[in-house]
Symmetry: C2
Subunit: 276 residues, 2 copies
């Protein structure tokens, strides 16, 4: 593991590391924010999963989350959104291939050798972080859009693994929207039964743990009606009595200006759960 | 004037406008953050001048200043760093031509027709902003690196025009460092007498107004010893008794992580002066 960026930020350090991922069979980068408290104690970790086209850079340069992580004593970890590299299959599209891993374990050619982002973000990356950084095994997870989908799937599929989960503008029902149908057909094949393991609406129906979900969604989001459809998750949550707080934020769109405006509340929400 | 971006942000609006600049003889973009208070009252303005290679986008996407502007009720205005467009002269360099206007009024070919950023940021842009937005004529100015130089020059040259001024990692003595010598030779010619009007160390010697300067400088800044040299301004300030607070911030570099870490203190500093 090699440190490739190291920058002072809000009294702590915003770092970026490069490592060889055995899950993804390629070299990956991830970002770690170590708040000032990390110099003297082990801290819990909030994982952040980014959306389509992002790398590990978007969240750390645009969200302004470090201020709140420093305030609450939480480590932030932000991985890339897909495998990368010269031998990694790609597609000539922003919503498939590199930058669009969708946090699944692909089973279909040419994707199955590298596109195993679900295992990477829920297993390999936490193990790596917990081995090398001053952190506890107390975890929370959040994300945006495709990464909001990833965060909800990770939490709903792994009872006990995360103390809290939240999402901004998540794709809650990938099986029912164009982004998800395209990616899942490519990565998982035509059989929709295989899609259920990566679809929050489906996973919620059989979730073993009723971990509360916090979701912020802008009502001026350009993808709200076509790709995000939070009402599908809300209806399921009501049907199965899963605790869900869905906040429709008036005027906000799909951009990082939206994330920046509410990330402070999300970090505080996670900090309360992480330190409870 | 045309609005080209409009995004909800911390309860207000982060907008970008395009207009025809009569000073620069080209189409320009600038960013305006209108905090929530702007819906019901006229507010003072903090101008932000960015550094080499930047556009109006860098500050608004990376600094996280909107949170503090919303907290204090201050409008933020961030122009581009040079004229732009197909008929604007450029150089095959990051530190001359487009993205590197250096906030001077060029007098030498091929630059003199468009490169008049000093007049643009101190005259045309404030007049435009004060005509079209819910703002008062109470102004402050700040900036980073080349833009820190621009902010200091604007304040030192225009007594009474700004209530307060601050800078991050400014080029304080462009006449004495490689970035400034290259740009000033191109834009202003070989005669160094003409450079004095755009050099903070020189301007401070004869300043008519002793407006206090607040400067934050990272001590791990990769340009500190070669291009920035704040000690030159500090020595002059002591000699002429100009009030200067120079804060050396341990561990911080030249990046937006540094700006983000301290922009809250700068916005609060300006807000106190703007509302005094």
């Amino acid at each position: 593991m090699e440190r490739v960026e190291h920058r002072a930020c809000f009294g702590g350090w915003q770092d970026v590391y490069r490592h060889e991922s055995s899950t993804l069979n390629c070299t990956m980068q991830f970002a770690v924010y170590l708040p000032p408290q990390a110099a003297s104690e082990k801290l819990p970790v909030l994982y952040w999963l980014s959306g389509l086209t992002c790398t590990e850079q978007n969240f750390i340069t645009k969200a302004g989350a470090q201020r709140y992580a420093a305030e609450h004593g939480v480590v932030l970890v932000a991985p890339d959104t897909s495998p990368r590299g010269p031998d990694v299959s790609d597609a000539d599209a922003y919503d498939l291939g590199c930058g669009a891993g969708f946090y699944v374990n692909a089973t279909r050619a040419p994707w199955e050798r590298h596109y195993r982002m679900y295992d990477y973000v829920t297993r390999e990356l936490p193990a790596l972080v917990e081995e090398h950084f001053p952190v506890t095994e107390v975890r929370a997870i959040s994300g945006h859009s495709m990464g909001g989908h990833g965060a909800l799937v990770a939490a709903l599929s792994n009872p006990g693994r995360y103390r809290s989960v939240s999402a901004f503008s998540p794709i809650v029902a990938p099986s029912q929207v164009p982004w998800g149908e395209k990616a899942f057909t490519a990565y998982l094949g035509e059989n929709r039964e295989a899609w259920r393991a990566f679809d929050s609406v489906e996973l919620m129906k059989t979730a073993q743990e009723r971990l509360p979900l916090l979701i912020d969604q802008g009502d001026a989001d350009e993808f709200l009606d076509s790709q995000l459809k939070p009402q599908l998750l809300q209806a399921t949550a009501e049907a199965v009595q899963h605790p869900l707080t869905l906040r429709m934020q008036p005027g906000y769109d799909h951009s990082y200006y939206f994330i920046a405006s509410f990330i402070g509340e999300h970090v505080a929400y996670h900090a309360r759960a992480l330190k409870a």
